[in-house]
């Protein structure tokens, strides 16, 4: 089989439909690639047998005329945050490194039901906490991209680092991600992929290991905007088991990909210009606006005045929820346990050894901001600011259809960079966090490469439930950018 990186969901699905290739053939090829690509450390658990079984079942269905749609037979990576029945689910943490769920998350179950073939569970930052995929208990993930003329190992971004490494490295056609503050979009930007986070509530959180409940959303990581639309369609559903699940049907996003950008009002939020941001990113951003203009869209400079508070707000809300969500990992019922002389000592030893440094840092931050005497000053204030940020967006989307911003303030950086400075690491999320706080759909589309030949993404954001507009704008941007670079 030719370069596996040529396959998209759309082309593979077409080829299978035409009988040019079977799911088993595709799956075997990707299993071989997955095994050959282990140096990337993209997968925590490989499930080749399960994959072959599902591929064969898919071929059988297709033979009988029962193919379930464009995801049927497509080999994908599953972020190891989605609980998968009978397949170890670790959240990249020591504390869950022996955990095998008896149940399937709604999102992975939806994909399975759509016929997708799971190749394995992809690596991530521990409990999805990180922007470089260097906090995994199972080791860091390598970015398949390398800077031109240099040998440095780059990070793939995070937390969905294993998923993007797998897709951009040609180990899977697509992969699932989860995005709490940018964990889909930032790694997509670092690896030249499309990463899409839907409106909060589109994808059920049931069965997905929780990081920050009010922010966590699953979404697709793909090579093309159309693939993202196809895959999202399979992942999203209203789920009565998740009280925050949206009780509405996702519109036809794939159809929206065929519409042009003519007449769209594209907002450029001035607060997204950062001091010290690399010139190339500013340039690409300007270029993006220019492309839209050339396609008949209208460019409008807009202001989102509370943007500057988004990052600090996020780093209060997310750790606060995480500190409580992670309390269940106590060694009592499942997962890693280290016995102690007393119950309290067992907790201390279990959680002290079971959680890595970044997780412990966030649990401590979260515990602190919820503590008596600090709750009003931090958590309550952060929630108020969050409301203001959401209102900023609401006002703007009365005027414009879509916002265009950079996805991340830099291209992929070298492993070791920013590692000793959590604040510098947290800055990676500066452009992605506002949409997360407001629960808005957003997508990162590869826009170009920097001077080292590394990919840079552009982010589009729309109002709540405006996924159709988002995909419409994203396809137009994708076409204009004509991004062809490969690692």
């Amino acid at each position: 089989m030719s370069d596996l990186r040529d396959w998209t969901i759309a082309t593979a699905s077409d080829a299978m439909e035409k009988g040019e290739v079977s799911s088993v053939e595709l799956t075997d090829a990707f299993i071989a690639a997955m095994e050959a690509g282990r140096t990337l450390n993209a997968f925590i658990t490989e499930t080749p047998e399960l994959a072959r079984e599902r591929a064969a079942a898919s071929d059988e269905r297709r033979k009988n005329g029962d193919a379930r749609g464009p995801m049927d037979g497509i080999p994908i990576g599953m972020k190891d945050l989605f609980c998968t029945e009978g397949v170890k689910t670790t959240a990249a943490s020591h504390i869950l490194d022996n955990f095998v769920p008896t149940y399937e998350s709604t999102v992975s179950g939806n994909l399975r039901d759509a016929g997708a073939v799971m190749l394995g569970k992809t690596n991530l930052d521990e409990f999805a906490m990180g922007s470089a995929n260097i906090t995994s208990y199972f080791g860091s993930v390598k970015n398949p991209w390398t800077p031109e003329g240099a040998n440095a190992n780059l990070v793939p971004g995070g937390s969905s680092g294993g998923s993007v490494a797998a897709v951009s490295g040609g180990l899977a056609i697509a992969a699932t991600g989860t995005d709490t503050g940018g964990s889909i979009r930032q790694p997509a930007s670092f690896t030249g992929l499309v990463g899409m986070k839907p409106t909060y509530g589109r994808c059920s959180r049931w069965g997905t290991v929780a990081f920050a409940s009010s922010l966590d959303q699953a979404g697709p990581l793909t090579r093309t905007v159309e693939d993202a639309a196809i895959m999202l369609q399979a992942m999203a559903s209203h789920d009565p088991k998740d009280s925050t699940s949206l009780p509405m049907v996702l519109p036809d996003c794939r159809a929206a990909c065929t519409r042009d950008a003519k007449g769209l009002r594209v907002g450029i939020p001035k607060e997204y210009t950062l001091d010290g941001m690399p010139e190339e990113i500013q340039k690409l951003w300007n270029q993006g606006a220019q492309w839209f203009k050339e396609m008949g869209a209208e460019i409008v400079e807009v202001s989102l005045p509370h943007t500057k508070y988004a990052l600090p707000t996020y780093y209060i809300v997310a750790p606060a929820e995480a500190s409580s969500n992670l309390a269940r990992y106590d060694g009592v019922r499942y997962g890693f346990r280290k016995d102690g002389a007393s119950l309290d000592e067992m907790y201390e030893l279990t959680r002290g050894e079971g959680f890595g440094a970044e997780v412990q840092r966030r649990v401590l931050i979260g515990t602190y901001v919820l503590s008596a005497g600090y709750y009003d000053a931090y958590y309550v204030k952060a929630q108020q600011v969050r409301t203001l940020i959401a209102e900023d967006f609401k006002k703007i989307f009365a005027d414009v259809d879509v916002l265009l911003t950079p996805t991340a303030p830099s291209a992929a950086f070298a492993e070791g960079d920013k590692m000793d400075d959590p604040i510098a690491m947290y800055l990676n999320d500066v452009f992605t966090v506002p949409a997360s706080l407001a629960g808005l759909p957003a997508i990162s589309v590869p826009g170009g490469v920097d001077k080292d030949g590394l990919p840079l993404g552009l982010q589009l954001i729309t109002g709540v439930c405006q996924e159709e507009t988002l995909f419409r704008a994203a396809s137009a941007l994708e076409m204009a950018a004509g991004f062809e670079a490969r690692p």
Binding site: L96, S243, T244, S324, D330, V332
Partner: protein, 485 residues
């Protein structure tokens, strides 16, 4: 009814507030579909949500909200159409999530009132501060293994209603009356079975004391998890005495949590560590705020039964019962239902008397409650009917009643079988009267000679000769006319 503690420096008043945890009657748990049946084997009623498996999410059980609203209406309380579930964070082995989902700043029910029925027939209102919903924790069992503790999560997630009173209670007796009344209301409503032995109702008691006549509220102490009405009353008694002692010795009562030891009759401070929690409450991001409209409340209101206070008023005003009898009869829904069935078409006061004296006395001896009474409500009513229409005398009725207790037979059948029907045929009675007078000439002469009182002796003789069946009024009349007329 002021309850005062006589100290060395003067009289002290007790100020009491109660927090009652009542398990709401629901088929499934507050946030999961697991059943709530009592008596299941260890960890049989546990879902993935209850065990806090990774990625599991709570979904509010609408039945629990209904039960809370129903209870709120029964407490004549404000119903909050907007309420919020929050997480109360702390670690314990039988708390799987590492937090309890509870309501904190926005409870589903606000201020209300419970009217106490006191022993002297008077009433007194106690304010309700709030009612909120929360999950119960599981159970830790420490006596199964020398080294390890066992955890049973059957209770984890079961629906609790925490009902908080205002500090309006002033004596152990009032606390007892409050608990009994609250339990009655919950049982009438069908929102809690009120069974304190099985733990479906538990109380935390807040106690403080102050010099008689003072307005201040002094430091309160919380006595946790008291599980019977009697123990609540005892705990208040000893805790108040203790506090008076502390103040009078020049000390200061400290705010703390104590446990009541019924065996030693004392309260003991819990270790500081056990209550020095910072619970870090915050709204549960897995759940949306609870919102409902007036229609929802109205629908529930339409299904409310007649509650003890209304029933009591009806018994007094429409059925002519005394406040005391009415209070006794409505205290328990089954008793009230029994009474109403027995009194249907009968003289209510007579039925109430038979119920509160004869039947209660008999049941007490048998160690049975009204639901197990060998005498059915219909039969008791029939017995009163037989007295009223003079089929039997009150005296014979007592014998019939004894027989009813033994055999559960209908009183009419017993009267028939045993031939106990009162003799009201004047001719038949006259024959017996004549015979008795003829048999006792000396006594007859005595009466005729002016000793009116001796007529009573003749009544007794006639009744004896008729085996108690002669109508005593008729006997009396005949004797008078024959001996004195």
């Amino acid at each position: 009814m002021t309850h005062l503690i006589q100290g060395e420096t003067g009289d002290w008043e007790v100020v009491i507030g109660l927090e009652v945890h009542a398990q709401a009657i629901t088929k499934s748990k507050l946030f999961s579909g697991a059943p709530t049946t009592f008596g299941a084997g260890p960890n049989e009623n546990v879902s993935l949500v209850d065990a806090a498996m990774p990625g599991m999410l709570p979904v509010i059980n609408e039945m629990a909200i209904e039960q809370a609203v129903r209870t709120g209406l029964g407490l004549r309380a404000a119903i909050n159409k907007y309420s919020v579930f929050e997480r109360k964070n702390y670690f314990y082995a039988d708390l799987p999530q590492g937090y309890q989902i509870s309501q904190y700043q926005h409870p589903v029910v606000g201020e209300g009132t419970v009217t106490l029925d006191l022993a002297d027939g008077s009433t007194r209102d106690v304010g309700i501060e709030r009612l909120h919903l929360e999950q119960d924790a599981g159970k830790s069992i420490h006596d199964q293994d020398p080294k390890r503790s066992m955890i049973d999560l059957n209770r984890a997630g079961v629906v609790l209603m925490e009902i908080v009173s205002k500090p309006d209670i002033r004596s152990p007796e009032e606390a007892g009356a409050y608990l009994r009344k609250l339990r009655a209301i919950l049982r009438y409503l069908g929102t809690c079975d009120g069974n304190m032995e099985e733990g479906s109702m538990r109380a935390d008691v807040n106690v403080s004391v102050r010099p008689k006549g003072a307005d201040e509220l002094r430091t309160r102490v919380e006595v946790k998890n008291v599980n019977s009405v009697r123990f609540v009353m005892q705990a208040i008694e000893v805790e108040a005495e203790r506090q008076v002692g502390v103040w009078e010795d020049g000390g200061e009562v400290v705010q703390e949590t104590r446990l009541f030891d019924p065996n030693k009759g004392e309260t003991r401070a819990m270790r500081t560590k056990e209550f020095a929690h910072d619970y870090r409450y915050f709204p549960d991001p897995d759940l949306l705020p609870v919102r409902f409209d007036d229609d929802f409340i109205e629908r529930i209101k339409a299904t409310l039964p007649e509650l003890p206070d209304e029933k009591k008023n009806r018994f007094i005003n429409d059925m002519g019962l005394s406040a005391y009898d009415a209070g006794v009869l409505v205290a328990d829904r089954e008793t009230a239902t029994y009474f109403e069935e027995a009194a249907d078409g009968r003289d209510a006061k007579t039925v109430a008397n038979w119920l509160t004296t004869n039947l209660f006395g008999a049941l007490n001896k048998l160690g049975k409650d009204i639901g197990e009474s060998p005498v059915s409500a219909g039969h008791l009513g029939e017995l009163v009917g037989l007295i009223k229409d003079e089929t039997i005398s009150t005296k014979i009725a007592k014998d019939v009643f004894e027989e009813m207790l033994k055999t559960s037979k209908a009183p009419g059948d017993i009267v028939e079988e045993k031939g106990l029907k009162q003799i009201t045929d004047t001719g038949a009675i006259e024959a017996i009267v004549d015979q008795v007078i003829a048999d006792n000439p000396d006594q007859a002469a005595d009466v005729r000679g002016g000793n009116d009182k001796a007529i009573g002796w003749f009544v007794g003789q006639v009744m004896k000769a008729s085996q108690g069946k002669a109508n005593p009024g008729q006997v009396n009349g005949l004797l008078r006319s024959k001996l004195l007329g």
